[in-house]
Structure formats: C-alpha cells, structure tokens
C-alpha cells in the first residue's frame, strides 16, 4: 500500500470539510475498510488521506439497528453481522437480515458496514486487477465482453457488464429504503435512485456527489419477505444469482409481490414482470408459481459464458418467494 494519512474527524461536518477542503487532494472515506483496503493493496487507489467514518453518529442514532413506529433504521456503521443478527430485521424485514447473513464470511461480516456494502465496487476481475485498464478505469475496452465473463451480467445494455456486488442493496430495493446523506444538496435519496446503469456513467456505480456521506438508511417493514442465493459453494462464496422477495398474502394466495434480483445486472435488478405474474398465484400451485418465476429472465441477454444464469435465476426467485412465505425449500 502507498503511504497515506489516516483521519478521524470528530463529526460529519468535519468529515465533509476534509473531503472538500484544501488540506488533502485525494481523500477517501472508509467504513470497515474491507473494500477500501483491497483497492489500496491492489494499487487501484492512491488516496493521500483515508477518513474513518465508523465512529460518526448521526442525530437520533442509537443502536446499529432500531425501530420507531413503522420505520426501521440501519446506521451507516452497522456491521453486516449486526444486521444479520438483528431481531428487528429478522422479524420485520427478514429478507434484509438473510441477504446480509448470506454474504461473505464471518470475518468479513464482523467488519463490513451497511454503507460500505452498498458502496463497494464491483468484483469484475479485470476491474480488480491493476494490469487491466478497462472501460471502467478510463481505458478503451471492456475485457469481459470478449473475455472471461462467467460471473458477469445477463441484463443491461453494457458497455460494462459488471454485476452489482451488494447483497444488501436488492433487499433494500423491495423495502422502500431511503439512504440518508450529509454534506450535499439533498438530505436523502431513495435506494432505487442510488445506482445508475453503465450507459449513464461507467466510472462509478452510484449517484453520490463529491462530499456526500451516508449517515443511515431507513426502510419499511416487510415481515413476509425472503432471500435465496445460489453459489458455487453454498456456505461461503459470491452468489451466482440471488433474489429477494416481499409478499402480501391472502392465505396461500399472493395478493402482491415485489422481487429484486442480484448478481445478474450492473444494478439491483427489479423484476416488475414477475411481480405482476405472481399476483393471484396460489403458493401451493407449483406449476403456476414456476410459470410466474420464469418471467424473471425476460429481456436477458447472456454473454458467452454465463447463459447458465438463465436457468438459475427463476429458481432463485421461486425459492425466495417460498422462503418469504415460510415454506420449505429443497436444498
């Protein structure tokens, strides 16, 4: 790692001042540092100051996860382990707890934070390797398009084919989550506006402005919600495809559904076609359920090595729906 200064600002205003002031030219925020340190080790980023944020407390912050009326709140600094084990989330938004509990390993979850998980950069191996100056890093080529793209996107128009790496983001997309910010022109941003597709800007995945700091996230309860991921190694690996589903049930009939897929597109991938098809489906009518979930791949355009995800995604969606309803899912 190149040398850098390490700052612990006393509050959000001081953090903002370090980000925008004259003292440092290449400031970099850090949560747990899991993704930051990876970039520093690979020589992808060369900040002159790394700014720790974990000790910063937004007004009203109490526990890492809290609930006030019908609003659930996750602090930016809440660790993934705290999210996964939160009684509030396990009861009121299980898809969030399970999505995060399924991510990475205990070592990563004990350190990685909510904000850092949302803002982590993609895992595309060309992006992560200093040797490849791909489109995302200001070069002229997407090496994945003609190269090794087994773990890449099946949705989106390019010209970059990353999958968004966050397990948390898709779960927040079906729970009306809002990301709260300090230091910019706006106080908050709906999670569904946090990310953009590569055609709208290839260098970054999110829409934060320079100097904006995530302080906390709020979301609405989705007690009938679930998550399912398919991985090469089920206990610990990046998902090949996953889905989060939130349902409203009338007995065993789906009154309404919201489904968001992950690891298949450069942004969390909402599936309105599946939502519509699931409406009115009886969970015990497996044929109808499978037919509705098959809509998940509508519009997909796989690359040379990842058509297998077309088979996987409807399975992940169906199992997420069954998990949401508390039904048994075959292993």
């Amino acid at each position: 790692m190149n040398p850098f200064s390490l700052a612990r600002p006393k509050d959000h205003a001081a953090t903002h001042a370090l980000l925008t002031g004259r003292r440092f030219s290449l400031p970099l925020l850090k949560g747990g540092g899991m993704d930051v340190v990876d970039h520093l080790k690979e020589g992808l980023w060369k900040p002159d100051v790394v700014i720790d944020t974990r000790h910063l407390r937004a007004p009203g912050a109490s526990a890492p996860i809290s609930k006030d009326g019908q609003t659930i709140r996750i602090e930016a600094w809440a660790t993934m382990s705290e999210i996964a084990a939160s009684d509030i989330l396990l009861k009121d938004a299980p898809c969030v707890a399970h999505a995060v509990g399924s991510a990475a390993s205990p070592q990563v979850r004990n350190v990685g934070t909510a904000a850092g998980n949302l803002l982590q950069r993609p895992r595309c191996w060309y992006y992560r390797n200093e040797q490849f100056q791909c489109l995302k890093k200001g070069g002229g080529t997407c090496f994945a398009f003609e190269g090794e793209n087994k773990f890449h996107a099946i949705f989106g128009e390019g010209p970059c084919y990353i999958v968004h790496p966050s397990n948390l983001a898709p779960a927040l997309c079906i729970t009306d989550a809002v990301v709260h910010l300090h230091g910019g022109k706006r106080a908050s941003l709906p999670i569904t506006d946090l990310y953009h597709t590569p055609d709208k800007g290839i260098r970054t995945e999110h829409n934060l402005e320079p100097g904006e700091i995530v302080t906390h996230i709020t979301l609405s309860p989705a007690p009938v919600s679930g998550f399912y991921a398919i991985k090469e190694k089920q206990s610990f690996d990046w998902p090949l495809a996953f889905a989060c589903a939130a349902l409203q049930l009338d007995g065993s009939t789906i009154r309404s559904a919201r489904v968001c897929a992950g690891a298949v597109a450069p942004v969390p991938w909402l599936l309105p076609g599946v939502d519509a098809a699931l409406k009115g489906v009886d969970l015990d009518d497996d044929k109808a359920l499978r037919a509705a979930c098959a809509k998940a791949t509508e519009g997909a355009r796989p690359l040379s090595q990842n058509a297998y995800k077309l088979t996987m995604l409807p399975v992940a969606v169906r199992r997420a729906v069954l998990m949401a309803a508390g039904k048994k899912v075959e292993a």
């Binding site: 190149n2 205003a13 001081a14 925008t20 899991m34 020589g43 992808l44 980023w45 610990f236």
Partner: protein
C-alpha cells in the same frame, strides 16, 4: 459525475497522466454549483469564527506510535497508517501465529479475535484496532495449558500441513465464546471463512464438537 467516495478519479495512472488532482480540478471549476453548495454546507455547519477545517485527528503518512492491546498486554509500536494489523502483529510484534495466505480477506488464515469478534487481520488497518482487545493464537493458552480447542485439534489430527490451522482454531474459539454448544450447521457456518487446501474439514468439525463437550458426529477421514 465523479465522487470523492468512489474514486474513479483516484486512479494513480489518471492523476499521473493529466497531472491534475481532484483538488486542482475542483479549484479550476471553483464556480461549479456542486462545489459552491458543498463548501457553503460546510461553512453553515460550523460555529462562527472558526475556519473551514474543523477538528480532525489526523496521523501519518509517516510512522507514528500506536498502542495495541494484544493478548492482554499493552504494546506500543511505530507504524504508518498504511500498516495492516497482520503486518503489525507479525513484523512489528513477532506474533507469527496469524498467517498471511491470500492477503485479501478470503481465506481466514490471518484470523484474530477483536473484542470477541473474528476478523481477518490482513484487511484491517492496525490503527483501527487501537483500543480494542486483540487475541491471537499465541494468547489462547493459559498458564502453559493449551486451549481446549487446540487440544481437541491435536486429538483429532485436524490438520495436514497446519498452515491454515491457527485461523481455524481462532474461528472455533470465537464461535464457542458466543455459543458454547453449537450445532454442526452452526460450526460449518462459523468456519466458512476459513479455507484449507487440503481435505481435513471432517476432523476440524469433530474437534470443535468435542471441544464443546459434544460427541463427534462424523467419521474421521480414513487414516486420520
């Protein structure tokens, strides 16, 4: 739009090529709405009479002294902010129990316990562990007696070459501290971040079951 949080701009090659940093870029575009409103927000947040650089504890980039509480002892070293906890332990303190294997948070070989939580010391800045209770494998034995997890690993021959073993033992210890009688499924989950090139997992699971006072549930590997 480039963002200070997402340093598409913070690419060494870019900065070198154009010779422009984000700072000079921002200064050049000093009148841009974003920059203007941002600095106004910063000013507004400050009490009158203070300049635009409120207090921040800043150290480095060179070596500064750093005090870590390792295995119950307070130890002060000189280290740059860019020093990982693993390097501080291995190179500055001579604690070579935690191993550097993947160096990217993916294998668990460097695992230590911090305030009761298992972490990958290769991915943590040493300065981030300041003020916390750090336990390495060297700190598990008490008064010359091995930890029950260590004893059990030996009894079950839960290793081949042994390079990954300190990480596995720490993962087992961290689990038992939180859950004295874990199920096999819980053991598998707790050890999922520890990866070994050999096939000794069965013996590892049995060792942890036994260390928690439960009978081994799986046959040991042939020859073990």
């Amino acid at each position: 739009m480039v963002s200070s949080n997402d340093p598409g701009w913070n690419n060494g090659k870019d900065a070198g090529k154009d010779g422009v940093s984000r700072r000079s870029f921002m200064v050049t575009l000093g009148a841009s709405a974003a920059a203007a409103s941002l600095s106004q927000a910063a000013q507004a947040a400050l009490p009158k009479g203070q300049d635009a650089q409120p207090e921040s504890d800043v150290r480095g980039p060179g070596e500064t002294s750093l005090t870590l509480n390792v295995n119950g002892q307070s130890r002060t070293i000189k280290a740059e902010p860019a020093t990982t906890l693993l390097d501080a332990l291995r190179q500055k303190m001579g604690l070579t129990g935690p191993k550097e294997i993947c160096d990217r948070g993916a294998c668990g070989g460097c695992s230590v316990i911090i305030n009761g939580n298992l972490v990958a010391s290769c991915m943590m800045l040493a300065a981030d562990a300041e003020g916390a209770a750090i336990t390495t494998i060297e700190g598990l034995s008490k008064d010359g007696a091995l930890d029950p997890v260590q004893e059990s690993f030996i009894r079950h021959d839960a290793l081949q070459c042994g390079y990954c073993t300190p990480g596995f033992v720490m993962a087992g210890r961290a689990l038992l501290d939180k859950k004295p009688k874990p199920t096999l499924a819980e053991i598998k989950k707790a050890l999922s971040g520890n990866i070994c090139r050999c096939g000794t997992y069965t013996n590892v699971f049995n060792a942890i079951l036994e260390a928690s006072g439960q009978p081994p549930v799986m046959d040991s590997a042939p020859g073990a």
